[in-house]
């Protein structure tokens, strides 16, 4: 009798799933990066001037960059969270471009073949055909592809490379750019303000409702790369949209840095959902800032999955400015071997009757460490505010760690607040039950983990839920990470 171990590996998903073929190689594959020879490591005011010149930016933007750089040199590193001592700014390449086409191509066939292949492997053109209303694809510092359904364009929707938006819509950009996340917010916001490049500009005019999601995919390819894309989203009164971001990079064993910035303005009675699946390589520092200002009766929803990165510090923030504004934060963080996932949320209640709900699920495995860090504030002006916070941690083995740092500050005693935190461990009896039906242990564990995050994953469009589940399976298969 042979043991079944060797035989049971044949597992295929039905071909309709766009992302089902994803495996470790999909992300770790990298293109040769000859173009990198042209770009120097380290940051300086000369570099900043050169970036701005390369983009042919207006004077005000250059000025903003210099101001941000000044903040960067003055503001100390964060005094909380994981240590960032190993992050050497002199070893990072802050700006590099592989293709030279301003604003990106409008047809995949025009995109250089090796770059297109990368996005093909990640399933982006396929997803575009099937489920998306528009796509942006960024490779290193610049956007290589951008598209938007014609119908939406005629309705006045703008979905552009951020660099292009600076030129074509200076009045809008100048009005909103880094007004939600000011450059002096913290060190990495300052750094971002100085060297930002590429990203997405989305403008949805009053009353326009976009049903299909729009997506941007950010890919770092070269070693020691730094990516600083800027995403500026303006949703006007009564408008609705859903935007998805995907991110990945290959693994080199040498540090990369991602310090993106997402600014969202949700107008009166508008509704916006921002979903992201971040899967940076394990040698990436992911120090991202995402923030939304939510006006009267508007809704902001965050759905996020953080799988990759060596160190992540990410706390999507909702500022509930108008009365009856609401925010929903759903997050998953998976900390595997050698990873620190320091994630959570910031929610500031300013308006009356504002409400927020936060559900955070974290998984720690193979010595990984996941930290929930929350900052919930109810201002004096926020009468009858309501907030519900729920954090669930699942620890898969005895060497992994989970911590919770909830900070709640209430200046108004009419507020209703609930905070629940639970920590669970993978249960031997549950695994035995699943394996007793012929399911190998790693797959059984992946099932339990996928079940644990199901309440959040089911909020993603089906194809992305499949991708998320697949990423979890990859994490569960490999203990080396």
């Amino acid at each position: 009798m042979s043991t079944p171990q060797s035989k049971s590996k044949v597992q295929k998903k039905p071909p309709t799933n766009i992302f089902a073929g994803l495996n470790r190689d999909t992300f770790d594959y990298f293109d040769p990066s000859e173009y990198m020879k042209k770009f120097k490591k380290g940051i300086s005011s000369q570099l900043i001037a050169a970036i701005s010149k390369d983009k042919d930016e207006p004077e005000w933007m250059l000025h903003q960059r210099f101001k941000a750089y000044e903040y960067f040199t003055r503001i100390p590193m964060p005094d909380f969270g994981p240590g960032l001592e190993a992050l050497d700014f002199d070893e990072i390449c802050f700006f590099a471009k592989a293709a030279d086409k301003k604003g990106g191509y409008e047809n995949w066939e025009q995109v250089p073949a090796y770059i297109k292949n990368t996005f093909d492997r990640l399933g982006i053109p396929e997803a575009e055909k099937k489920v998306l209303a528009g796509v942006g694809a960024q490779y290193e510092s610049e956007v290589v592809y951008h598209s938007l359904e014609k119908e939406l364009a005629t309705q006045g929707v703008l979905f552009l490379d951020m660099d292009v938006a600076v030129h074509r819509h200076p009045e809008l950009v100048q009005k909103y750019f880094m007004k939600c996340v000011p450059a002096n917010d913290h060190k990495f916001a300052a750094l971002h303000g100085a060297v930002w490049s590429g990203g997405t500009f989305l403008y949805v005019p009053k009353g326009v409702k976009i049903e299909k999601p729009l997506q941007a995919y950010f890919r770092m390819n070269a070693m020691n790369m730094g990516q600083f894309e800027h995403t500026l989203i303006i949703i006007e009164e009564g408008a609705e949209a859903h935007y998805i971001e995907g991110c990945s990079a290959p693994k080199y064993g040498s540090n990369a840095l991602h310090a993106g910035c997402v600014e969202i303005f949700v107008g009166k009675s508008a509704k916006f959902r921002y979903s992201s699946v971040e899967n940076w390589s394990k040698d990436t520092y992911n120090l991202n800032t995402k923030r939304a200002i939510v006006e009267e009766s508007a809704t902001m929803e965050w759905v996020g999955g953080n799988m990759g990165s060596g160190v992540t510090m990410l706390y999507p923030c909702s500022i509930l400015k108008g009365r009856n504004a609401r925010a929903d934060h759903l997050g998953i963080a998976f900390a595997n071997s050698g990873q620190i996932q320091d994630t959570g949320a910031k929610i500031f209640h300013l308006g009356e009757n504002t409400s927020s709900r936060l559900t955070m699920k974290s998984i720690s495995k193979g010595g990984g460490r996941s930290i929930y860090r929350g900052d919930l504030r109810i201002a004096k002006s926020a009468k009858n505010a309501m907030s519900q916070v729920e954090c669930d941690a699942l620890i898969l083995d005895p060497v992994s760690i989970s911590d919770t740092y909830p900070n709640i500050k209430v200046d108004n005693n009419s507020a209703t607040i609930s905070h629940e935190a639970r920590v669970g461990r993978l249960n031997e009896e549950d695994i035995f039950y699943l394996t007793s039906r012929g399911i190998p242990q790693a797959q059984a564990e992946a099932m339990i983990v996928n079940g644990f995050i199901n309440p959040i994953v089911r909020e993603l469009p089906l194809e992305y839920a499949v991708e998320m589940n697949r990423l979890i399976e990859l994490e569960m298969e490999n203990s080396i990470g």
Binding site: P4, K7, S436, R437, G438, N450, I453, P455
Partner: protein, 250 residues
Amino acid sequence: MSALLELKNLHVAINSKAVLKGVNLVINEGEVHTLMGPNGSGKSTLSNTIMGHPKYRVTKGDILYQGKSILKMEPYQRALIGIFLAFQYPKEIAGVTLEEFLLAAYRAKQAYNEPTKPPVLVFRFKKMLHEIMKEFKMPEDFSERFLNQGFSGGEKKKAEALQMAVLEPILAVLDETDSGLDVDALKTITVNIDKVMRKKNTGVLLVTHYQRILKHLKPDFVHVMKDGRIIKSGGPKLAHELEEKGYEQL
């Protein structure tokens, strides 16, 4: 030909406490063996040990399945070669539907038995599952519920029997699958267990406290377990005797 299952002088300990102290038992294909005995006599330990629960340590003796020792096999490997355990207390797994769980199990078995065949398509599997569920008098949406979550005691037992019907084992260990069921449900379950037995010539080890299931699932042998040993074996009559006189007389 070797027996389907042979337990040879099986000793089992949990956390170094001896629970089974030399169990001998032979089950051939197509046979129904009933295992009865007072609480704490080691019946569930025996069931879990056959399936390979990591907590139950075999300290002496052997378990032979189709003539070969399975002691070194993981639970999932034992399942793939045809062993099934219907749990006394099925686990509740949040976020995993009964259907996706069974699909994964079915595909794993299929990949083992017919490695060259492509895995069953989701819609085909669904169709098959719904047909079997109909025989269990279960509504179609039952399989969309999370595994055992919020199931009543009876529903859990029914779901265990459903899993057996889908996976069609060669050896089925049913650990008190009859308890907590009303008469109709009991009948439905046993009819379907019987069906699998006819199809696969399945051998059954039925752990129970009650005589009533034996009306539907006629045992070939009845064994009485006490203090980690089988102290008496006999035909169906033994079950009657036990119900009348209890275990004390033994």
